[in-house]
Amino acid sequence: MTKLTRRDFLKLMVTLPVGYTLSRFLPNALHKKAGRANNDKPNVILLIFDAMSAYDLSLYGYHRKTTPNLERFAKRANVYRAHYSTANFTVPGTSSILTGLYPWTHRALHISGLVARNRIMQNIFGALAQGYHRFAFSQNIMATNLLRQFQADIDELLPSSSFSEFSLVTSEYFKHDAITAHEVQDNLLFDFADPPGSLLFGISQRVYFEWLKETGRVPPAIPQPRNYPLVYKLWRIFDGVMDILGRLPQPYFSYIHMFSPHAPYRARKEFLGIFDDGWQPVRKPGHILSEGETPETLEQERKKYDQYIANVDFEFGRLLDHLEQTGALDNSYLIVTSDHGELLERGVKGHMTPLLYEPLIRVPLIISSPGQKEGKEIHSPTACVDLLPTLLHAVGREIPAWAEGNLLPGLGSEEDPEREIYLLEAKSNPAFGKLSKSTFALRKGKYKIIMYHGVEAFGKDVFELYDLESDPEELTDLYESEPILAQELKSKIIDKFNKINKPFDVEGS
C-alpha cells in the first residue's frame, strides 16, 4: 500500500474544501443557466391562505372592507366567484389541490389523513417534472405531511417552522421519516393537547416551553392550533417568502401554504378594532349538528377573524408590490386560493364540523397570468381539483388521464353554469373502507343539495336544498317546498354517492 506523504496530506486538505465548495455551488449555477435557457416557461406561484372563506372577503361582496389588496390584485386577474374546495378542512382540501383528485379518490379523509399510497405519484410536482424547479413550503404541519408524501417529486421542501420565531417541534429533525415522527412525537410523546405520552421527555419539553413563554424568551407571536410549540409572526413569513421567491432557480413552481388566517385569529394591534362598526351579520338558526356556540360569541369571533383577514390582506399587498416591482408577475402565474373556509354561524366556530354551508366550502380563487393587465370575472362553479389540469395546460404540459378536474374557464375552457361540483366531509370514516357516516353536497347551477348520510342524530339520510342565487345565506330549505326539484337533485346526489362509496381500491390507480 502506498504511504500518504505529508505533501499528499496537505494537497488533500486544500482540495477537499475547494471541491466541497464547488459541489455546493455548481448545481445551482447549472440550474440557473438552464433556467435562463427555459425563460419562455412561466413561473407558477400557488399561494394558499389556510381557512380563508370567500364569505368574509370584501372582494367577494362582504360588508366589511377586509381585502383591499386582493381587490387591487383582482383588477389584473381572473376572479372565480363560485370556487369551491372539495371538503371543509385542510387535509382533504389540500390533497385535492395537490393531486387534482376528489377526496373519495385520494382518500385523505381524516384530520391527519394521508393520500392513498398508490396515488402518491399523482401530484402536481411530479406532473411538472423536468424543466421546473419545484419548491414547497407549508406552515400547516398537516399540509407539510402531505408534501412529505410527494417529497421524491419536490426539489426543495422547507419545514413548517421556516421563518418562524420559535419552534420546539421535534419531528422536523426526523426529515427522513417525518410522517411517522409527526404522529409519534408531535401527536403522542410530546402531545400538547392531551397527556404527553412520554413521561420524561414529554413533560420536560412542555414545562420548558411554558417556562420560556412565561419568562419572555418565546416572543409574543401567533401559535399553531393544538398548541404545537411553534410561533410565528405573519410579516416575517411574508418577508421569508419574498426572499425565497427572489432566489429560486427559474422557471419554478412554488407551493406556498400560509397558516393565516386560520384560528387562533391574532391580528397585529394596528388591525384591532378596525371593525368596531356595530354591524351584525345575518343571524342564522343553530344546526342540530352544531356545537352550540352563542350568536354573541360567534359575532365576536367573526370580528376577530375579519381583522385577521385584513392583516393577512395587508401582508399580501406587500407581497404583491414586491412581485410587481421586481417584474415577477410579467413571467409568472400567481394563484391565490384557500384549502377551505370557516364557519362562524349556526352555533359553529371554525371548521371541525360535518356541515357544508357556503362559508365553509366556498373559497377565493384569483389567478393572474403572465403580464395580465385586465381583470375578468368568472361566475360558473369551479372546484379546487381544476387547478392541477389548468396549471399543466397553462405551462404547456399534457394533462394526465388520472386528473379528475376540468380546465378552468378563462384559462382553457368556457364557462359552464351547469357544472356539477361535489363536496365531501367524511373524517370519521376509515380511509380504506366504505363511508358509513358523511356529509355530501352537490352544487349544480344555482342550487345546492346537502345529504347527511349515516348521522345518528337524524337516524336516516337527511337532505337540505338551497337556491344560492336568491338565498345566498342558505336560510330557506327548499327540500320540502320544491318536491320536483328536490327529487331530481336527490336522485343525482344519491347516484353519485353510490358510485363513489366504494372501499378504497388498493390495487387501482
Binding site: 385523505a108 410523546l189 400538547f192 397527556p195 421527555f201 376509515p430
Partner: protein, 182 residues
C-alpha cells in the same frame, strides 16, 4: 473508595430497570392504545408498526436516562443510604417518581391549552423530597423491603419481552430512516 466498587451489579440493576421499564413503556403503550382507533382510520399496518417502533426507541432512551439518574444518585449518596438496599430503594424511587410523573402528565393533559397548570408544580419540590425520603427510609421496614424486592425481582420477566421487542423496534426505526435517506 473506587467508583467501580460503588456501581451496582447487573443483578442489582436488572430489577430496578424492570420497574422503570414497566412504568415508561406501560404509560406510553397506554397512550398509544388511546391513539390507535384514530390511526386505524388512515394508517396501514406497516405505518402503525413504524409508529410503535419509534415509541419503543424513545422509551428505551427514557429508561436508560432514568436508570442512569438512579445510578448517579447511588454514587453520590453514602453506601448505607442507597447502595446497601439498592434494589428496594431504586425500585421505590422509580415507581414513586414515575407515578408522580403520570399524575403530572394527566393534570397537564386535562388543563386548557392556554392555561398551563403551574399550580400543580408548586408542590413539586416537596413531593420530590418526600419521594426521595420514602425511597431511602421505607426499606428499613423489613416487610416493605421484602415486598418491593420480590415484586422488582418478578418484574424482570417483562425485560425478556421488552428487550427483544425494543431491539426489533430499533431495527425498524433505523431501517425507516436509512431507506428514506437512500
Amino acid at each position: 473508595m473506587k467508583i467501580k466498587e460503588k456501581l451496582p451489579s447487573i443483578h442489582q440493576i436488572a430489577p430496578v430497570l424492570a420497574v422503570t421499564a414497566i412504568m415508561h413503556y406501560g404509560w406510553t403503550t397506554y397512550r398509544f392504545i388511546q391513539k390507535l382507533p384514530s390511526w386505524l382510520l388512515f394508517l396501514n399496518f406497516r405505518e402503525i408498526l413504524s409508529n410503535y417502533a419509534q415509541t419503543l426507541v424513545f422509551n428505551l432512551a427514557e429508561v436508560l436516562l432514568f436508570i442512569s439518574i438512579i445510578v448517579v444518585i447511588n454514587l453520590l449518596l453514602p453506601r448505607k443510604l442507597f447502595m446497601n438496599m439498592f434494589i428496594a430503594r431504586g425500585s421505590l424511587l422509580a415507581s414513586l417518581s414515575l407515578g408522580y410523573l403520570v399524575y403530572l402528565a394527566l393534570s397537564i393533559g386535562q388543563s386548557k391549552l392556554s392555561d398551563f397548570p403551574w399550580r400543580i408544580f408548586q408542590w413539586a419540590p416537596l413531593v420530590t423530597l418526600v419521594i426521595f425520603l420514602l425511597a431511602i427510609f421505607l426499606p428499613y421496614v423489613a416487610l416493605v423491603r421484602k415486598i418491593v424486592e420480590d415484586l422488582a425481582d418478578r418484574a424482570i420477566i417483562i425485560l425478556y419481552v421488552l428487550v427483544p421487542l425494543t431491539g426489533l423496534g430499533l431495527l425498524l426505526f433505523l431501517y425507516n430512516i436509512l431507506v428514506n435517506l437512500v
